[in-house]
Subunit: 278 residues, 2 copies
């Protein structure tokens, strides 16, 4: 994928008014009967292709989450690779964010660099902050890739450590500060900020006025779309990667699941557009 | 792997006086010529088998790190699965700790549960703390599996967040406290504490007197073995999983690499035994 640059791809999508990211959390058990093939891998790829064909002009990015693929071992990995390859070939203007949520220390990360960037050819990844910047240099040094650091996660128990006060500030704000001021020397960092915590998002946006926010938790997790747009948009009115998964890809289990996924995407886009002009 | 219980397996190893964990960080590029086969997967598996055959009576656990396998995509996953299967069959008394360093939120983790426990059949995993206990319940509820939470990592930049003061205490001590007092209701938690930070290890052992410590950083990273044993051992004089990888498995690149790995393991064991009686 020589020549691809995540921030350029994303900026072009934003200029075209696209802020919706479809999460390809393609849980095998939930895939409609009509999309099924002989093998697990073929079924997942066939389903993903149908979703991609139906939504590629409506999204700013796709976001497969590794967990749903690795559940099936090497077969799942083949499905993940084939899915990313399909997006790269059929919708080369749409960046792929791998929701990997993993990192190791130093050179061990080179294994993941090979895995994500050389083998799977994704444009961006998600990483946890706990190991510190020094550990993540093998990722951060890839300036053409997007590195989204978990800042405020969307789960109900996110506050256990993320809300602990470091001096006067909660820990999630300290993470935002470090990433914004110290980690982003290559201009390739972003933050993961759950739609389920709009007030926290507002505080994080003040700290990081220009970083892209990957915002999960819309749809099935009941995140607040309107407030996410209002509080999450950057100084320039962009900066949003609003992710919904189940609410789109599994909106229907019938024959027309892909058409329904398109309708749901259009509904999300209308809501986003309405919130942006408010 | 019905009937296997990580803590029982580990306790039996400790009773037999074994505290060394060999890290199967089987970087393909470093595998000796003499161990090579036609494919990447066959080469890695062949190398691992030779190391396992040569060391199985000297170790308390094996610890493959995913990164070295995932670097090779689905082929790497087949190699990882075949390696764990070989240990389970040929050395069923030796638990396998998968150094996965990943977690997602809530039910998404079920994909990783399937991957790690149903597909790969490992006995224990490593997870980062940032998402909180609630996110990790799908792992923690498996009481027969070991869940090692990253507490103080071995890398040079570990302190960026881990040393930040939460009230009067550094963050890594708060993590140790939460895991010890709140996460360990099934008695299946442990902590990852780098051998490169002996003073921090001492403080963590005071907070968590009985949790198993997975201690990376010996050998190539120059962690302090003597102090790790002294400060890391539990109240009962056990609790140690002392991990070395490159220093053992890549000690020789010659024909007799497996014999040399055995010699190195014996040297580590002598040092551990000497440190334990001091």
């Amino acid at each position: 994928m020589a020549g691809r640059d995540f921030r350029e791809l994303l900026s072009a999508q934003w200029r075209a008014g696209r802020f919706l990211c479809v999460g390809l959390d393609s849980d095998f058990e939930k895939i409609p009967e009509t999309a099924r093939k002989n093998t697990v891998a073929d079924t997942i790829v066939n389903f993903n292709r149908a979703i991609i064909d139906a939504t590629r002009d409506l999204v700013c990015a796709y976001k497969p989450n590794n967990a749903f693929y690795e559940a099936h071992g090497d077969e799942g990995w083949r499905a993940l690779r084939a899915t990313v390859q399909y997006i790269n070939e059929q919708a080369p203007e749409v960046p792929v964010i791998l929701d990997s949520k993993r990192a190791d220390i130093g050179n061990t990360n080179l294994g993941y660099v090979d895995s994500f960037f050389e083998h799977l050819h994704v444009d961006a990844i998600t990483v946890p902050p706990y190991l510190g910047k020094e550990a993540l240099e093998p990722f951060l040094s890839h300036k053409e890739k997007g590195i989204f650091v978990l800042c405020r996660t969307s789960n109900g128990g996110a506050g256990e450590f993320q809300d602990l006060k470091v001096g006067d500030e909660p820990f999630y704000k300290v993470v935002a500060q470090h990433v914004s001021e110290e980690w982003n020397t290559n201009g390739n960092c972003g933050l993961v900020v759950g739609a389920t915590y709009p007030e926290e998002m507002k505080a994080i946006r003040e700290i990081a006025p220009d970083l892209p926010f990957l915002i999960p938790g819309l749809g099935a997790q009941n995140g607040d779309l309107k407030k996410s747009v209002q509080y999450g948009k950057s100084a320039s009115g962009r900066g949003l990667v609003l992710a919904a998964s189940r609410a789109i890809i599994f909106a229907s289990s019938g024959t027309h699941f892909a058409e329904v996924a398109r309708q749901k995407s259009e509904e999300f886009n209308s809501e986003i557009a309405a919130a942006l002009i408010q």
